[in-house]
Subunit: 236 residues, 2 copies
């Protein structure tokens, strides 16, 4: 069976798009190149900042570029799309409506993974844009879960890790990440969602997975769903 061609609506941000592809490759059961799925990746770095638009700090909407990229990927033959950016899922319905191929939803996949793990109260570490868009809370209600966002001071630290850290090419310390996880545990969260792909990059670079099994990475969840949807096997 020929596997489906995955279209990656990327560049938001560009490094997360690269890590997403790497995760897909590492999580696929493969012993040669041809065992992997085919991807067509738009790593469109110059798309205007998503959070700045959602927060009303900029009037430059990223939607036009993203809808156009979705249509370009569909025209080029993609069978389905993925958008490896939580913040940009504020525009999910608009992008999905712009094309006739399915767009997998990272928020739905991540909340669903939390529910499967038996979590009841999930803490969401994400951009201020994602928090303002409230996409995680809305999805959690559909699954009967509680959604907790950080307090204002903690959110400031999350934003600093994302913007002054990963997006600016500077390295993050493991202590900074653990402090964020601990804050959410103090709020009674039994699962902590990395709801921003830049946080996934930091978590992964620091190899924090084994020490923090209650942390669910939205980017990894999307990578697994992409492999399965394309018709390839997950590495066991």
């Amino acid at each position: 069976m020929k596997s489906k061609l995955a279209g990656v609506l990327g560049g938001v941000g560009p490094m997360a798009t690269v890590y997403f592809q790497q995760m897909v490759l590492e999580l696929t059961e493969a012993s040669c190149d041809q065992d992997h799925l085919d991807m067509l990746v738009s790593n469109h770095a110059t798309i205007p900042d998503r959070t700045a638009f959602i927060l009303g700090e900029s009037r430059l909407s990223p939607l036009f570029d993203m809808a156009q990229d979705a249509q370009m990927l569909a025209r080029a033959g993609c069978d389905f799309l993925v958008l490896p950016c939580n913040t940009a899922h504020f525009f999910y319905e608009h992008i999905q409506n712009a094309v006739s191929i399915p767009l997998l939803n990272i928020i739905e996949g991540t909340v669903s993974a939390c529910a499967e793990q038996g979590a009841a109260r999930i803490g969401v570490l994400a951009t201020a844009g994602t928090v303002a868009a409230n996409t995680y809370d809305i999805m959690c209600r559909r699954f009967g879960l509680s959604c907790i966002y950080p307090d204002a001071a903690t959110q400031k630290q999350v934003t600093a890790v994302i913007y002054d850290g990963v997006k600016a090419g500077r390295h993050i310390r493991a202590k900074e990440m653990a402090a964020l996880y601990n804050r959410m545990r103090e709020e009674g969260c039994d699962a902590i969602v990395l709801g921003c792909t830049e946080l996934s990059v930091a978590h992964r670079d620091l190899e924090l997975h084994a020490a923090h099994p209650d942390v669910i990475d939205s980017l990894e969840t999307l990578a697994r769903r992409t492999i399965e949807y394309a018709g390839k096997r997950l590495r066991s």
Copy 2:
């Protein structure tokens, strides 16, 4: 000035395509997403094996897929193309002739970088396909340099690192790589070219750069040329 859209003819192999994008991002002077160049990446993993075709072990040619991908990327608006695979440069002229936008040549860029470093005798570590295609030797003559390929036993080890190692998702030891470099030094080479992107992946993962300044990575050379060609600045 709007930067040029880079089309990446990738999937040959898929992990090298990911590393290429990562290198481009890391080598670009950028403090936010929008400082990076835009790339449209065809990570087409299922393209038939290049070396098997060049060596006559398989009649399945990868050229049809690669020429089609080049045309698809051009139609989608790419201003120029790069092909982050040395072996596939056997087909360079055919792919270039299939499109009207320029295709940067990794072999030319790498040999040119060796010449700039003052090298006279370069050792080429590459797939048996690249060796048989003789692309490096032909290019070296244009630059007035000598090109040395490994002896049969060493070439077997190079092939094992590429196929049984990186492409199969298994980790390579630093000792294995250093042994290959030393063999080429024993042959009097004053520069050693990583002429296969899978070797670049291993060299980079093992952080061998500082200990082996005479090793020139073809993938990194292409990443630098891509950034400059797109109109972005190299990180200083």
